[in-house]
Amino acid sequence: MNKKYLSYGIFFLILLILPFFLSSRWVSVATTFLIYSAVALSQDIVLGRAGMFNMGHALFFGLGAYSTAVLNTVYGVPILLTIPVAIILPLVFGILLAAPIVHLRGDYLLVTTIGFNIVFTQALKNNIFGVTGGPNGIFGIDVPKIFGYSFSSQTSIYFMAFGLLLLTLFIIRNLETSKTGRALHYLNEDSLASECVGINTRFYRLFAFGLSAAIAGLAGVVFAVQFSAVSPEAFNFLQSVLFFTIVLVGGPSSIEGVLLGTFFMFVLPEIFRQFAEARYLIFGVAMILIMIWRPKGIWPAKFGRIPKYVFKD
């Protein structure tokens, strides 16, 4: 256990000093890495821990970002005051949207969540309620200010994103060791059996959706601040596919795996930008090969300790 905390300490230390060694372009990439990690970790609550095939997670991410953008640019609310809305709105939507479909099995749930995501981006593009700015999105979002200090430099936004990741990791660590986390794990392994021992599967499934939507919404705020703009393309269905793939390539319900997955799926393509055209081809090949060699992800999760005598060789 000590070893685990030590390695996390080293990881956080590296993240702390990282922005002072990078050029501004790479600080920006690192910031997006931190935000995407938080979103992927929240996606993992639904996909990895609760085992529900959600392929529309960019919807909640976008809902958070757009809440901040609309409140700030249209109604002039300071960024920090929009945060509660950007958390609560995705939370409510997550529960309301999931409620009628949460009982759907595997692939049907997957298609329905894709549907939600596409309806969402189409609504944004068609300038719903006249506040979303249509296909171009919203520009000119303010910088957040607290006690006279404004988060205007690239590095200060990096640390904001770093705080977001720390908070997400803290929530997930608590989830893992709590009754809720165990219930989710159980209903993922066998939902019928978990219902038979008295776990309210519907409640916990909705809980997972709500929690993951809320975290994604908060990540959306940081995303909107980082680019000081939002557009429908940043939250379309292909982004959901990205988050879905990050979790599965890295390793479902494994924190280390999801972080590695984000690195692999987001940072590597940025590094190989010079091979612009061929890189996604190679990327697809890599996805197939990883799944063949490590079907449970690069860094699979380990659960408990099952005694040796249970296995038969």
Binding site: Y108, G115, G284, V285
Partner: protein, 300 residues
């Protein structure tokens, strides 16, 4: 009334293309329980292959009937081989793996095909030649129907009828249905399941190839990432009808096509895509396994 009938004809044409593509999804899902995300990109690939073959042939042969027939033949063979290769490389090693791993592998394969097309033919859209199918239109009581539309409708209906007959009346088709219900039991009955899976991919990809050629010849403009949107629509059609269910895929495709055309005709086309998915969500809420119900065995 005229607008309604006109949009109905247009919708049926698009719907039968969706249905052809949806059959590829639903048949693979029936046997492997896998959403073959690369199927849409195979459809896009077939449009490009078809265009190349057509351009080559139109220099050598003058009769456009022969050109079209040969184009279909060559494209179907190429796409069927690609489909089987795809299964061998990306899906076969993952038969025993968790189901979602195969989905990621399918997404990877989709990226490979899509970007492969872009590297070979470039990111700009390609245009099918206009004069391959003569531009003849009939006016029946104020409703126009083109020769191309007629061809799409007739060929699709014939293909679907043949497929329905094949799956329900022949020995190989029965083996296919048996493998879809229970692979282990099918194996015990002496069915070579690997061969059945291969046959499924051959049939599914061939139907997809016909669909891709129709998209190219009907809409004329093709682009490297069109596989996503057509594939997704066709997949939605398969889900609406009930996945794994062959008549369901046909019905779903037709419904989706007509719904799309009516929305574009009466409301605005910018909301057509969103409303299509609203329809999907409503159907999923009230009929959780599609209109005709799924034909997939579920283990508890």
């Amino acid at each position: 009334m005229d607008i309604f009938l006109q949009q109905l004809i247009n919708g049926l044409t698009i719907g039968s293309i969706y249905a052809l593509v949806a059959l590829g999804y639903t048949m693979v899902y029936g046997v492997l329980k896998l959403i073959n995300f690369a199927h849409g990109d195979l459809v896009a690939f077939s449009a490009y292959v078809g265009l190349v073959v057509m351009m080559q042939l139109s220099g050598a042969i003058s009769s456009s009937v022969i050109i079209i027939l040969l184009t279909f033949l060559v494209t179907i063979v190429v796409i069927a081989i690609s489909g089987v290769t795809l299964e061998r490389i990306a899906y076969k090693p993952l038969r025993k793996a968790p189901r979602l791993s195969a989905v990621v592998s399918a997404l990877g394969a989709s990226l490979v095909i899509e970007n492969g097309i872009m590297l070979i033919w470039g990111p700009r859209p390609k245009i099918f030649p206009a004069d391959i199918v003569p531009n003849i239109n009939w006016n029946i009581g104020g409703v126009y129907i083109g020769l191309m539309q007629l061809l799409v409708l007739v060929i699709s209906f014939v293909l679907m009828f043949v497929l329905y007959f094949f799956v329900n009346k022949t020995k190989l088709g029965t083996a296919m249905r048996a493998s879809a219900i229970d692979q282990d039991a099918a194996r015990l009955m002496g069915i070579n399941v690997d061969k059945i899976i291969m046959t499924t991919f051959i049939i599914g990809s061939s139907l997809g190839a016909v669909g891709g050629l129709f998209i190219g010849m009907y809409y004329r403009g093709i682009y490297f990432n069109m596989g996503w949107i057509y594939g997704l629509n066709a997949f939605v059609a398969a889900i609406i009808g009930g996945i794994g269910n062959i008549p369901g895929a046909m019905l779903g495709g037709m419904l989706l096509g007509i719904f799309n055309a009516l929305i574009s005709g009466y409301l605005s086309s910018s909301w057509a895509l969103a409303l299509t998915y609203v329809l999907l969500i409503i159907i999923m809420i009230f009929r959780p396994t599609g209109i005709l119900g799924e034909r997939v065995a579920e283990k508890v």
